[in-house]
Symmetry: D2
Subunit: 341 residues, 4 copies
């Protein structure tokens, strides 16, 4: 049974694990105040041309999202997100638990556009309604799509016009930055957003997300929020060590590119066999549509997510590759799939 279910099925990339092992017996102070975290934060600031940004490290993506979003908002202020957005559908109401409504914007490709934002703001005009204040986007999105530089710039202008914050969930940022067609750079992230995350969990770390706070107003209190919500790791240096390893010599992007390449091979192979793919994803999540009987037979040898039925006879599934996916795993899947026709 091989799993294409997600990009966090394995542990860490060997170089990350090695860094953890090499530093294991050192004594450092706790809670992310150690030298490794501070060096990793410096690396990120430099990488993103954001010398003034604050960088914090947390264990998981839901933590990163709920902490960052809550730090920006007053209780009655709301998040605008694509209806497919992780904060809207896959965090068990984590944002609502912090008191904030997530206003879901129907989106065909998982992305938010200025038009969608303007319409949502227009219908929330009174103090009897929540006040939209922050746009949540993810890159890549939950359906594998990418934001272009011009799309991100347009959202930034929209935010400036309407007094909104822009937050980018980068759980799969590596995959986005290395996808064919991407024209965003690290620096664009700090240029266009108020805060963003750099995902480690899905790209080679045991765990860990870097939260990059660009906006001044939100910086002062973040560690208090972290501690109060149980998001301050005692041995915080584990996060700094891992991010240092990931960001050294371009490993982070190299791993993401590898995942994208295997996804591209899967995509091409599946297309060549005549199956449709939804969402035009150039990244490490692809969404082929198989006849039900093919999806069922695949499920006996491969682990993957069933996304949704497509009519009575077909099923859309999600296949995810990672830095750990080998070419031979893809080959075998395609061979098996070919045999099922």
């Amino acid at each position: 049974m091989y799993s294409f279910a997600n990009d966090y099925s394995e542990g860490a990339h060997p170089l990350v694990l090695q860094a953890l092992c090499e530093t294991n017996s050192e004594q450092t102070c706790g809670y992310g105040l150690d030298g490794y975290c501070s060096a990793a934060a410096d690396t990120i600031r430099s990488l993103c041309s954001a010398p003034e940004a604050d960088v914090h490290f947390v264990v998981g993506g839901t933590q990163a999202n709920l902490l960052t979003i809550h730090a920006f908002l007053r209780s009655y202020e709301a998040v605008l997100a694509a209806h497919t957005g992780h904060v809207n559908v896959h965090e068990t109401g984590a944002i609502e638990l912090t008191g904030h409504k997530v206003v879901a914007l129907p989106s065909a490709d998982g992305k938010v556009t200025p038009d969608m934002v303007e319409q949502a703001v227009a219908v929330h005009f009174s103090e009897h309604m929540v006040h939209p204040r922050l746009i949540y986007i993810s890159n890549t999105t939950e359906v594998g799509t990418l934001y272009s530089k011009s799309e991100l710039a347009a959202l930034r202008r929209c935010c400036d016009d309407l007094g909104l914050f822009l937050y980018l969930d980068g759980a799969r940022l590596g995959s986005a930055l290395t996808a064919p067609g991407n024209d965003l750079t690290w620096s664009d992230l700090s240029r266009y957003t108020d805060a963003f995350t750099i995902g480690g969990t899905k790209n080679g770390a045991l765990f860990g997300e870097a939260v990059v706070l660009v906006q001044e107003g939100v910086k002062d209190h973040f560690r208090y929020y972290m501690k109060q919500r149980g998001a301050m790791l005692a041995k915080g240096r584990l996060l700094g060590v891992q991010f240092q390893a990931l960001l050294k010599d371009g490993l982070y992007l190299r791993l993401a590119r590898r995942a994208n390449e295997q996804a591209a091979r899967l995509r091409e192979g599946i297309s060549a066999l005549g199956y449709e793919l939804s969402y035009h994803s150039p990244s490490n999540q692809i969404f082929p549509v198989f006849p039900n009987h093919v999806a069922e037979r695949l499920a006996s040898s491969y682990d993957f997510t069933v996304d949704a039925p497509v009519g009575p006879d077909r099923t859309r599934v999600r296949l995810v590759t990672s830095w750990a996916t080998e070419a031979r795993d893809v080959d075998r899947f395609l061979e098996d799939l070919a045999r099922m026709q």
Copy 2:
């Protein structure tokens, strides 16, 4: 300037005010533990054939909704509501502030159907998603429509099948129970729902909503929740006195019927002048569609809510009548409207 903006523009019905004046100098204990509240609760239990129900009185509808809904739910459990539902759009995120997602169900007539519920439950299948647990409905709805007995019974069955609670917001319950075509009785409310409210604010009281808890599991702690959220009125007897006055000799339904009748006269007069009405509301809120210039001219003599543009040239407005609306107010409006053609 006459106002059709809502059904709470005036104070209380004279009989309610008189009851407050007559009891004003009495000493009672505070916080709703007085004899008036307990008598009003008995009256309601008897009226609704719900001898085992708990009845609490709170000052306003948002309080009633957030307290009752929260009392039923664990933090990760969600509310299902029509997208037009008061808790979804007009309470500034009050439900989310208690931690719960409101899953908005698109609805053409402001009502929730078992089909809509089943679909929403079906897509929330994992512990990474909120768990739908309570259906919020209002009667009349925010667009003036009614639930029939068979519709309510169907929702009850749907709740039983799916393990959901059914909560009915009766802010305009009087209008519902006295609308042409209604076949619901007081007793049906306790028979089919787990909790419901009886609105006083919009039907003759200075303020006040009765919360009727039918479901056993939710009864024990309600007063603690009330106090903790600032919803326990010091001179609680004011609520009991008002509800006793309203429920005496059928005053409550009489007032609601009067509001409905004036709305019907408005509706008929507006139709007779050739204007369309949205939503087929038989109750005290009507939604005529006027040419923009008519809507604007009306606005110079009448207060009402502009609901939404209908194409480029027309505007849907909301007109609300109340127990205090006089036939002559309706007559004058219709005359003025006729003159504007």
Copy 3:
């Protein structure tokens, strides 16, 4: 059975009720945006020499406290209060429900001093602890004592030195301002505090507290917070009408003075009979200590609160007078008490 249990046993003062009756049939817009509320806010701004202050009206004291305190604080910021403070012991954890710890400061007389504040701040020095940010005081306190002008000024300086906000709960402000020995004026409230309330419920209104926001930073969002927590009254004008009536021709202070005078007569009579009084309260709450058998016999004719046992043989009770307490009620109590010796 006559009740000295509290100062909200009766309804409203006749002049307040009359104002409600006289305005009852008027149409106004809802939610406190009417002319009565705006006139009452002007009156309060003028009375307190605070032309820039924002004034909001809510129904009850717990609402006023939780809304105001929450508006000042980030989630990890804490309230400092006397251990007897209403927010610490008598609001069922309302402040904690908004996320904030109340740090209880042991206090012999119900008051907070700069020393107590400095010590509390000193021991909260790390991001692993809550960050004290607001001092809650009440005047009169829960044990009937008063703040002098110099005490309030000293707390203000302490707040300025330590970066704290000062919030004064004026549920019994009338009693404080008219108590023998008081040297505070209305204007001192806006001079020394960041926010304060003026209590109506316990001084002649049916219900209602005015929240006066002096501090700039907290002003912008208050109505959203009110609505989101169910604290925006539909017929908001009821609050404006009542406060206008109370503040007209000095009625508010006149009523409070009357309550204090009857309390003074009680106090003197009880002392004359040889019983001790705790807390040196010059206001409308007094705390005599009776032998247990006396307390028990009194309880058969009078309603009052049993505060605490004092040793095995005596009981401290609380007696509260109000604007509605008549001299003859006090006389009869003292006569009955004399007979019990």
Copy 4:
């Protein structure tokens, strides 16, 4: 600079790290639903003679505390804890953020007794107050002390009598179970408490706390709560793998015993030099009182926590040993200390 500042200065014990390395390339499903977590849960159930208990693994202690406590309580229900308890002073108000008051019980030795509980329950008698519902204890306590079996049994009886839950924070459970004088067994934990944790972070893991839910009522929803609060680790197996390694062949207790032994050597050496120790702690945290100048000189070579001044001339510090503390580290400290006399 050697650190006695805490027991989480280093990474993981080599055997734990080795287990992580050996399993690193395996694919498992995420979120703790893998075989390692389920095996570790079985091990714990068996160890604690609690075949029916539910076991969950979370990353940190504050997460474990806030999740577990919140799962037991309704919003107005409160926690009783020693004033020194971690949830009261060292979690930045995490419990309050979940809505619950922590009622602090003054305690000379960091422990809670039935007397203290009964008194606290007695003064919370009304619905205007929070309702004490759960006792939080830690073992060892924050000042290094232990609960005996009879003390724990007495608290259990007290809980049964008063309708309270008993929750034991075992962040330093290993140190407790291996301290001289301890008479508690693993099985006593499930016998006497409703829930407890087994701390990994402070005893050889990179991170991780096992939450053991004994009480039936709280079991069903825990994973939803975890996810909603960002406490569900994507690569959940990391927790299972570590706990399996720690619990294999008694490693967990062996590591804790080693920490205790080095603390005992420190304690004896410090006593022999004539210095007082506070709190009679037999475990891995000790609290010597040094003259200020000694404390200051020590601080130039050793990292430790300054606990509090003891009069004008002396300082109480906290020294913590761990599984990683070597005998030679203790020797050197004692030699340095001797030289400072």
